[in-house]
């Protein structure tokens, strides 16, 4: 009876239905945790990149491009947090950066999600290797540029950042995402 085709069909159907049911249950069970974790990370990131902010407010959301405002205890605006997504080396990179209220400089930048090469491109999310160069970058002199060749952090021009050695594509990706987001911000939130 094990060789009969109706048994084969029934067996496979049974296995698939059980597996499907199990997965549907487990996916529904974990979904709120996954969503809550994402939201918490975003909240935290907004408050991180706008120094002094204790709460945030959504200013604009256009697809993957999102602008938040960081507020102090009295509800006064301290600056903006801009969330943007763009291509990295292996997959999309999503990041968030803070701007002062006049939008003349980038205060801080954080990479929220990336799937680039561990140990190389993945260092775009690493403070020591990459993110520290993004503190207090000037936006009044045009776009952010990669320093050529990389320099000591203290001798970088105010609109320059260092690339990660061995991961130029990831570094360029991040710079392009930030520059694109700054341009889009000008358009969307004049």
């Amino acid at each position: 009876m094990k060789e009969k085709s109706y048994y084969i069909i029934l067996f496979l159907t049974f296995v698939s239905v059980v597996a499907g049911g199990l997965l549907a249950y487990f996916s529904a069970y974990t979904a709120p945790y996954i969503a809550a974790d994402k939201k918490k990370q975003l909240e935290q990131a907004i408050l991180d990149v706008v120094p002094g902010a204790v709460k945030s407010r959504t200013v604009k959301e256009v697809g993957d491009f999102k602008v938040y405002e960081g507020l102090d205890g009295d509800g006064k605006s301290l600056g903006y947090a801009v969330f943007a997504v763009g291509p990295g080396f292996s997959d999309k990179i999503s990041l968030i950066f803070g701007m002062d209220a006049k939008r003349e400089k980038i205060t801080l930048m954080r990479v929220l999600e990336q799937k680039d090469t561990p140990g190389l491109g993945a260092k775009v999310a690493d403070e020591e290797s990459f993110l520290k160069f993004w503190k207090e970058r000037d936006l009044t002199k045009g776009e952010i540029l990669l320093a050529k060749p990389p320099k000591e952090a203290s001798s970088l021009k105010p609109n320059e950042v260092n690339a990660i050695s061995g991961a130029t594509i990831s570094s360029r990706g991040v710079v392009a995402i930030v520059n694109g987001a700054v341009a889009q911000l000008k358009k969307e939130v004049p």
Binding site: I8, L12, A19, L22, L23, T30, E113, T117
Partner: protein, 204 residues
């Protein structure tokens, strides 16, 4: 049915050295090469593989007399995929940072030949107890190899172990060890060493 009448302890021990899934059977090379850039990844990956291997082997050993031979592969893959997806969802919900650093390699455990290989070669012919021991032994063997490779790569390529700096400032990171080439170099040397040791052991 159970053709070999090995002792139960042998079913566990064999995965660690004699039939090590990485060093002897050369199974599951892709994740071995790809995720061994840090010890942390190796720990996460071995645990995920151990969970999927254990669950799949137990399940399939229990169902082995009901699974029609013609479609056994299809049935295996559905069962394996279910457990892999569960472990992926679990990691994403409760270990988000680990899940991020392992990236797509957790869902890819589905096509990890270690699991498919053990299920087809072992638990479809052996009972539940033996399958549990087999899966545990194989997981330990796999985990040890991942541990050694990623330890070497993280230490030489990044100067750290488990994310902590252990090499002094005099140490220049060998970037190549973190790159894919470093994975091949380390794995190749390790395979050579294992083969050498096995041939020595056989002679003596």
């Amino acid at each position: 049915m159970a053709s070999q009448q090995n002792s139960l302890s042998y079913e566990f021990i064999k995965g660690i050295w004699k039939e090590n899934p990485n060093l002897v059977a050369l199974l599951g090379m892709c994740p071995t090469l790809a995720i061994t850039t840090s010890l942390q990844n190796a720990v996460g990956m071995s645990l995920a593989v151990a969970f999927c291997l254990l669950c799949s082997e137990v399940f399939i050993a229990a169902l082995r007399n009901l699974i029609p031979t013609q479609v056994r592969m299809a049935a295996f893959i559905v069962i394996i995929a279910a457990f892999v997806t569960i472990s992926d969802l679990y990691l994403r919900a409760f270990q988000p940072s680990l899940s991020k650093s392992l990236g797509p390699f957790v869902p890819l455990i589905v096509v990890n030949c270690i699991i498919m290989g053990r299920v087809e070669a072992f638990s479809s012919k052996n009972g539940v107890i033996r399958s549990i021991l087999d899966s545990l032994g194989m997981s330990v063997g796999y985990g040890l190899v991942l541990f050694v490779i990623s330890g070497i790569r993280e230490l030489i390529g990044n100067g750290t172990l488990m994310g902590y700096r252990v090499m002094g400032s005099w140490w220049d990171n060998w970037l190549v060890m973190i790159l894919p080439a470093g994975a091949f170099l380390t794995l190749g040397s390790l395979l050579g060493l294992a083969q050498f040791m096995q041939s020595k052991l056989k002679k003596s």
